[in-house]
């Protein structure tokens, strides 16, 4: 009897505490925004770049007075490039730090680990760079501001066929990464449908170091182009080993290649390789050049990569949505993010569509002696916005991607630098 009373009393206390938690507003005079990123580990440069982009954006917003009269407080958790740590980081940010919104991961697998937690807590999450289709299918609180894998894979397949004139492709995908599998799938479909032939398909697992076996098998099929939609750490080793084995054909990839670490020590092996990306530092668009200048000033002269640009855009879109919503209330904030239209980001004009994905253009870069050069820009519907620039050197075409909404975009006049 006595223990029952005690239990009832205890549970009452529990309820009181819980409701107490609920009614307290997240913070007094700052707005807590959570960020989980891979600051260390296998894909460390992704997390670090996104983080420094986001920090740059938030510092700018805070120095110009913050949003709805409050300063933004960015709380960052490192997930060490591990899926299980990503879920733990999101739990901590939501439960303990009571963040009002999340800036999500770069790697799709880790966004998919954190997304369901954010969705069930009704905390809006914006992924700066997770391109796998399924990420935003988690629920109506999950957004992204980058293009999706299918678009990336399709664009690279068309690029291989139309711009490079290649017909026999080999695929080498990372089975452990949703991102890589997704890109390979859309590349395979588009390439085969558009008159090309996939001659060999091989796979590996992130963390592998030895790819000689797969590449030897690929070599025996004599492909004229290889698609390797992996992350930079493995791709660096793959391209080097491919060249060692005498595979001299062009090698293509996706935005997972974008890292200053990619070509380190293997500059010559990377000649005749191309990858799709969100942004090119050579872009003469003043919005981009302004960002490059500010980023360099803040990061000891380091050139921003696409992840930094996406981190910057993600934080600014979130701040813009808070301003438009006029509140940090979850539901209203979600609606405001969903209503983002023609936001002038450094990675292009961004419109969030009904599937909470971003409609925006894609840039293909060519690597020459370890440097990334602009090669071609492709619009949101797969149309070439600029002619292919085969030598890839010092000729960044004037930006020409104005309309990127769902409507069929027509190539903008070639000389509107403010378009992107």
């Amino acid at each position: 009897m006595r223990s029952t009373v005690f239990l009832v009393a205890l549970s009452c206390c529990g309820i009181a505490l819980a409701s107490c938690n609920k009614t307290t507003s997240p913070a007094g005079d700052t707005i807590p925004i959570g960020e989980y990123a891979s600051l260390t580990g296998n894909t460390a440069t992704f997390g670090q770049s996104v983080h420094s982009g986001a920090v740059l954006a938030i510092d700018e917003i805070n120095t110009s007075g913050g949003v709805i009269g409050k300063k933004i407080n960015l709380i960052t958790e490192d997930d060490q490039s591990k899926t299980e740590d990503a879920a733990a980081a999101v739990h901590k940010l939501i439960d303990r730090d009571q963040v009002i919104a999340l800036l999500g991961e770069v790697a799709s697998g880790r966004s998919k680990a954190g997304g369901p937690i954010a969705q069930s807590a009704h905390v809006p999450m914006i992924s700066p760079a997770s391109t796998n289709e399924d990420v935003t299918k988690i629920g109506d609180y999950i957004f992204r501001i980058c293009f999706v894998d299918s678009y990336q894979g399709q664009s690279m397949a068309r690029f291989a066929l139309n711009s490079l004139g290649k017909k026999r492709a080999a695929l080498l995908e990372d089975m452990k990464q949703d991102y890589s599998v997704g890109l390979a799938k859309s590349f395979r479909e588009t390439f085969a449908k558009s008159g090309g032939q996939i001659v060999s398909e091989q796979s590996y697992a992130s963390g592998d170091k030895d790819f000689h076996a797969q590449l030897t098998s690929i070599r025996s099929f004599n492909p004229d182009v290889i698609f390797v939609p992996g992350y930079y750490n493995e791709v660096g080793l793959i391209v080097r080993q491919a060249r060692e084995l005498g595979l001299t054909c062009p090698i293509l990839g996706g935005d997972g290649w974008d890292s200053p670490e990619l070509t380190k020590g293997n500059e010559s092996a990377f000649n005749d390789t191309y990858f799709s990306n969100h942004f090119a530092t050579e872009d003469p668009d003043p919005v981009v050049q302004e960002f490059v200048k500010k980023y360099k000033a803040k990061n000891d002269g380091k050139t921003p990569d696409a992840m930094a640009a996406l981190g910057y855009d993600a934080a600014r879109i979130l701040a813009d949505a808070i301003t438009r919503a006029g509140t940090t209330e979850h539901q209203k904030l979600r609606d405001a993010i969903a209503a983002t239209k023609d936001f002038p980001g450094v990675t292009g004009m961004i419109t969030i569509d009904k599937d909470r994905n971003a409609q925006k253009p894609l840039t293909i870069l060519r690597i020459v002696d370890g440097k990334f050069h602009f090669a071609q820009r492709i619009g949101a519907n797969g149309e070439a916005l600029t002619p292919f620039n085969p030598n890839g050197k010092n000729s960044m075409a004037p930006a020409s991607t104005a309309p990127t909404s769902a409507a069929p975009a027509t190539p903008a006049p070639a000389s509107t630098p403010a378009g992107k």
Binding site: A44, Y204, K209, D210, H212, R240, G265
Partner: protein, 303 residues
Amino acid sequence: MSQILQQLVNGISLGAIYALIALGYTMIYGVLRFINFAHGDVFMVGAFMGYYASTWVSKIAPIGTVPAAILVFLISMTICAVLGATIEFLAYRPLRSRPKLTVLITAIGVSLFLEYLGQLPAVFGPDPRGFPAIISSKPIIQSTLLTLNVVQVVVIGVSLMLMFVLRIVVMRTKIGTAMRAVSFNQQAASLMGINISMIITFTFAVGSALAAAGGILYASQYPSIDPLMGIMPGLKAFVAAVLGGIGNIPGAALGGFIIGIVETFVAGTFLSTYRDAIVFAILILILIFKPSGLLGQKEIEKV
């Protein structure tokens, strides 16, 4: 056909490194009867020491030349020999009279300690780094039939040479005889006047130096190093040691080559996703059907 020859070369050069690491496992098992799970992490430290040594050596001799490479190997192998002996002294020696299980668990602890210590930014840092080209990767043979480059030849050559040296040390020298005696019967060996502790320290030092050499060779072939790089090669070398017959030196070398070749052939087919699974399936099968390994002798446990 061309593929089979090429895959064989790929497999042998990977297997040579597994063999070097497996030798360390098997030697330590031979004298102490426990699996030193920290061995894969000594391999990692070896690669990192090679990385630091090469920046230091580059001031004396240009990287890519033979003297520089030899110097890098010697520095890294010496540091790791000291590290191995230190680990034995601090972590395993105080437990020598305890049950073997205690030592085994300690070994796992030492392994985790090295992995996470290495990930601290003040030590190595968690991010993968490129490994300097201390061995050139220029092709020697380049045809559609076979591509062979300097690294692969050096990896196979250095591994075989070190195994040969080890064989001479174990079979022909006084200390090697003492090692075999300790491995055969520790108590009897100590009654014959052999300094057991000294032999154990020596075994750890030699095993760790071989792991360091393996680390540099591995990093030269796959030039990306990080503090967790030792886990997989360490586990596979362990499988190799068990496959060859743990405690048996030629067995460890044989096991290493077999694992390397099997792994490469599996990865070259449509089964590439399953390559690690197949390696560990070999471990399970060998433990079920021939627990003493290919070359190991059946040990009768006296009760």
